[in-house]
Each structure stands twice: as structure tokens, then as C-alpha cells.
Symmetry: C2
Subunit: 256 residues, 2 copies
Amino acid sequence: MSQHRHPGAPGRAGAVPALPDLPEATVARLPEYLRALHNLAETGNETISSEGLANAAGVNSAKLRKDLSQLGSYGTRGVGYDVALLIEQIEYVLGLTQLRAVVLVGVGNLGHALAGYDGFAGRGFRIAALLDADPERVGEEINGLVVRHVDELPRVAAEESVAIGVIATPATAAQRVADQLVAVGVTSILNFAPCVLSVPDGVDVRKVDLAIELQILSFHEHRKASLTALPAAGGSALTALPGGLAVTESQEAIGT
Amino acid sequence: MSQHRHPGAPGRAGAVPALPDLPEATVARLPEYLRALHNLAETGNETISSEGLANAAGVNSAKLRKDLSQLGSYGTRGVGYDVALLIEQIEYVLGLTQLRAVVLVGVGNLGHALAGYDGFAGRGFRIAALLDADPERVGEEINGLVVRHVDELPRVAAEESVAIGVIATPATAAQRVADQLVAVGVTSILNFAPCVLSVPDGVDVRKVDLAIELQILSFHEHRKASLTALPAAGGSALTALPGGLAVTESQEAIGT
DNA sequence: CGCGATTTGTGCACGTGTTCACAAGCGCCT
DNA sequence: AGGCGCTTGTGAACACGTGCACAAATCGCG
């Protein structure tokens, strides 16, 4: 802990120096901790040990402690972490203390589901607008929001500050939409379209691709299958086998 | 390239020794390369340089070359990679040469969208069954498939070999569903429910959580905002600010 | 008031992943 | 046939992330 700090909660004036440049891996885990903490809070826990929280979040306890120490959080030795305080800290660091407006572009199959997803409103996000390029879809009401045409994006952005855009369009439209989002000042994009987006520096893009996830799982399935097909051998046999591939392949080919 | 291999394509008998234990990071990128390659093939490219493919996939060219070299692929120096051959290689390694049956549990908001997602059938995956615990939803037809009750899972698994399960249920039901999936022999799970699943060794779980992605973006937004709010100061002012939190918050509310 | 049980915070070693930079190899052109 | 330009494959250095193991700190109890 290299920085001084009042023991008060974040949000109290003068309490917390801002954002000490966390490692990406840590940032990616904080939301998981946060969810676990909310669960713990609901079940009446006031404090939690690193071991307990690590279990609830599905990570190593040492890793968790290191993560928390990096955002400067105070645990108490011999006791653990104050659940409510830790929630406040993490929410502050993640910038969840303010409501963020999200604009969702593409109200097709997936976009429809996202529009109805309660994880938005649940945790500090608000859908500012649903947009789509298809005139057929414009006007449709989803979850209390009316779909507007994507050309209205500048107007939407003018109405309120939109920092996060979600792209749920087909891949062919994604880059154009991304450009439009960037043009109106969006600096973070969550991309569900299966393609790479090029954006200027300073704009963050995260990608979620169902097909990729499945293919990664498929790889592991393939690997597991090729291992169980050779149960006696301890691994060296894999490279030593003269026709190793033929074995696994023919097996698989017959099987299905 | 430590292992001998005939220059033939995978799928030829005796050609390729199986699955040389790729690093996870590489595995995670292969699907991206694959997609880029399919695009290139469609636009008539026969060969592609590492530089070109790296661009199309949004990665560094050295990284791409190392990735491809790890699965033993042959490029030709001075020329590049044979697109069709590389597609074959990657599809083989990822286990996409065989059709994999996927069972989707939870046909709510998100599950509905997933059931209609064309990325399944598109790339070597087939939805074997749609399952849900809600009797209201059982019988509903989505995309040519009828929703069955989740208790029929054993029967579905008996009908054909199901290796991959997708969980799109509420968090409260996810662990139970996971247990049921594991019980019928599923060894890979894609979890959309916002919770950690505990599964026995040998079962792979990947998690996709929209809320987490948004929160990560939110963090970066928060960070960017706190930086632009103090353009003159080189960072030390961040910790020095008496009311840093209040400043950035009000600025964002007013400013943009 | 002191001691032991407990739990945090962290130094250190290790493994994984990334990037640079360049030698080796290949095809084309003359 | 030979040389030249281009591209791959990879060794080596570097950055990042992880996990162990332990000292420091706190609480509760006798």
C-alpha cells in the first residue's frame, strides 16, 4: 500500500485517490468479485475472508488478495474484508457509481435478447436507445423502448452522453456502425458481430463471439477424444504413434 | 517443427500427428484466423501472407506466425500461406471436421436468441435439443426445433453423443443444469449464466457474461474520464486531488 | 495484559505470452 | 543457372500474470 488514504468509504469527499492503473487481468476479475460480494451481502454476511470470496468467485485466494491489494482496499488481518465496503470500493473503481448510457445497435435475433436483458439496468447501465437500419424494425417496442433508425444516432448522442455502444448487427454492417458510434463520441464498444473492428486510439473495443467460444470448446473436445483414444500411452505415444491420426479420425468418423 | 509430417493436407491417412498441446492463447485465436481465412477464400485469395492475415484477424504478424508454426502448418517462404490448406489445418486442429452436437438449456430471453443464431449450424455445430424447465415453454417451436423438458436430457444424450452443453438459464438454475449435463456425459460447457460453476476435472467450462464485459468497459471509461479531467497534470495530481471523485463525476454529468 | 489463532499483504520464483529481429528458404527474373 | 527480394519460422529478451510461502497485523480469550 504505497498511497495514503482515509479509511472512509469511496464517495466520501477526499477519500479515494483515483484509479491506480490496474492490470487488465485484475480488471477482468473485479466484476466477478463484485457479483460474488453482492450474493454474500444478500445472504447476510458482513465480512468475508479472501479464501471465502475466492471460492465464491472461482479463483485462487492469493490471486484475489493481490487483486484487492492493488486497488488499495483495506481488509483486516485476522478477520477478512468488510463486504459492504468492498462492494463500494469495487463499484467505484469500475465506475459503476454513475449510471452509464448504452446505445444498442442492431435489434435482430441477438439484439432483441440483449434489449431484454436485465443485467443492463441491474448494474449501473441504462439503454439510452435501440437502433436498427431496417425500416421494418423501426418503431417496434421492446421492453418499453421504441426502436429508432440508426441515422438518429447523432440525435440520441446529443440528447444525453452516450459513452458505450453495443453492436449486434451482422458482420457486414458492424464496421460502418462502429464508425458512426465513434463519430458521435462513443469511446467504448462491445462488439457481438463476428469481425474485427478498426477504431481510432482511445476507443476500447471488446468482442464477444459465440462461435469462437464453441470452437475453443470443440478444440478441447477434440483433444480429450484423441487422448482417451490412446488410454494406455502416457503422452509420448502421441508423437510416437505411426498412424496416430488415422486412429482417432477413423474412430470419430465411424462414431458420429 | 520438431515432428515429421507428410506435406499432405490433414485428413489424408497417416499425415498429421495429433494435437501438439497448443497454448491456450493460441487456441483462442485460431477461430479468429479461421474466420479471416474464410473471408479471404470467398474473395478469391489463394495465398495470404502472415502480414495480411494478421491484419485481417486483428493481431500482430509475429504472433500469428508463431501461432501457426505451433500447429506445424506449412507456409511457403517468400509466398505466404495457402488459404485453403490453412483452413483445413485449423479446422482439423479445432475438431471442426466432425459435426458436434450441442444441447441448449434455457430458452428464455437469451436462449431464444441463441437457438436462432446461425453461427451454430454455420460452422460444424448442430443443436441436438432445446431444453427448458418451464412447462410453459416446452412444446414451443424455435427455428424448426421443439423445446423439450430438461428432464429429457438423458434421453437426448442417449439418442446421440452430446459433448457440448450451453447453459442459458437464470443463475439459480445453472449449477443444477451443469450437474445434469455432466451426469449424462457432457464434457464441455458454455455458461451464459452469471455464476461460477463447479464441475469435475476433465470438464471444460467457458463463461460468457455480458454484464462483466460492460463493467470492464465501464472501468476504462472511468479511467479515461479521470485522465481527461486532469489534462495538465501528469498523474501525480490524481492522487493529490482533494475531491477527485466529486470532480470527475460532476464533469461527466455536465460536460458531454 | 499477553498469547495464540487467524488472515491479510507481499516478496519471490515460476510459467505463460508477446515482441523483436534475423537467419533460412523459396520463387521469380534475368 | 544464379542472384535478388520477399516471407516464413524461430531464438532470445522482455512483459505480464500466477501461486507459494511467510512475515506482519489484528482479534479474542484466558
